[in-house]
């Protein structure tokens, strides 16, 4: 893998402040009553922060597709575990015997 271009400190500063901003945002939003939306918004912010860290701090944006496939596999397999076990838990009331 050739010498991949490296982000400089300026970009790291920007990413750091965005992450800090998102942390404050998630804290502030948690105190506003959005009903069912609350956990969704909290998770969405957490995911964006995670993607920011992965792309820039972990240089995945500049690495080859193999690394990108590996990461997406990781999260996809986690989704398999969650969705298929939820498919059991949430459907227990469908056919009440």
């Amino acid at each position: 893998m050739a010498e991949h271009s490296h982000p400089g400190p300026k970009l790291y500063f920007i990413i750091f402040f965005t992450l800090a901003f998102f942390t404050c945002a998630t804290w502030a939003i948690a105190f506003v009553d959005l009903g069912i939306l609350n956990p969704i918004v909290a998770l969405a912010i957490a995911c964006t922060k995670a993607v920011l860290v992965i792309l820039f701090f972990m240089h995945v944006r500049y690495s080859d597709t193999l690394t990108k496939i590996t990461i997406t596999c990781g999260f996809f397999w986690l989704l398999i575990l969650i969705t298929l076990s939820l498919s059991d838990y949430l459907s227990r009331t469908l056919f009440t015997t």
Partner: protein, 262 residues
Amino acid sequence: MSTSQTTTTEHHPALAHQFDSMAQQQGASTFGMWVFLLTEIMMFGGLFAAYLIYRIKYYDAFVAGSTSISVSWGFANTLVLIASSFTMAMAVWSAHKGKRGPLVGFLIGTMILGAVFLGIKGKEYYDKYDECHIPGHVIGKGFNAWGGCSVNNPGLGNIADEIQQHAREAGVSVPEASAMQTARQTEIFFSFYFLMTGLHAFHMIIGMGLMTWLLLRSRRGDFGPQYYTPIELGGLYWHFVDIVWIYLFPLLYLISRHKGAI
């Protein structure tokens, strides 16, 4: 990258015998680290799946448990960890640019911030110990969600009161019996709280050990623009542990904190 011609560059001392070139070695090591992080994602994932299922099953108890832990310390910890991620990224950058001074400095910065994180975590654990909110009855005086357990602050730790007080703010009155019952069920929330943050703190401690080893090697000057893979791998590990905390903070600390929730 399948083809690697055996370029007859002078052998860099750090090139392992089974690799043909430094680029191949770095590529293999970074990819190997990512595969390892895959296993970490699945390990924490199993815990998150179990947490999700119990959150659905005992939602009120999770709300009561989450509101009883202090969100400000959690928030502070998140900022500390993001800062440590930043210093770690700067450390990788300076290793890549061959600047030994900043590399050592940023590594020390990362370790300090890591220590601060563990310190705050320790304080939170002590608070839980003091209020007897440690699940099970092996550590401390056993789980007790109805107060009167803390030595230096007897009024603390009564989750049943907190539930009723929280409900009063939301304009709904919750009687004593049901508040007591939800308080007893918060033990499951605290088991997941300690399991998830404990596993995360354990990974932080391993990370600190890793950083000390990298610090020693950097001071010895092992790393330069041609060879800084260990620093990069240490960085990947550290950022991963930070990402785990990024998910832990909202999932554990911010469960329906807003006024309207009962």
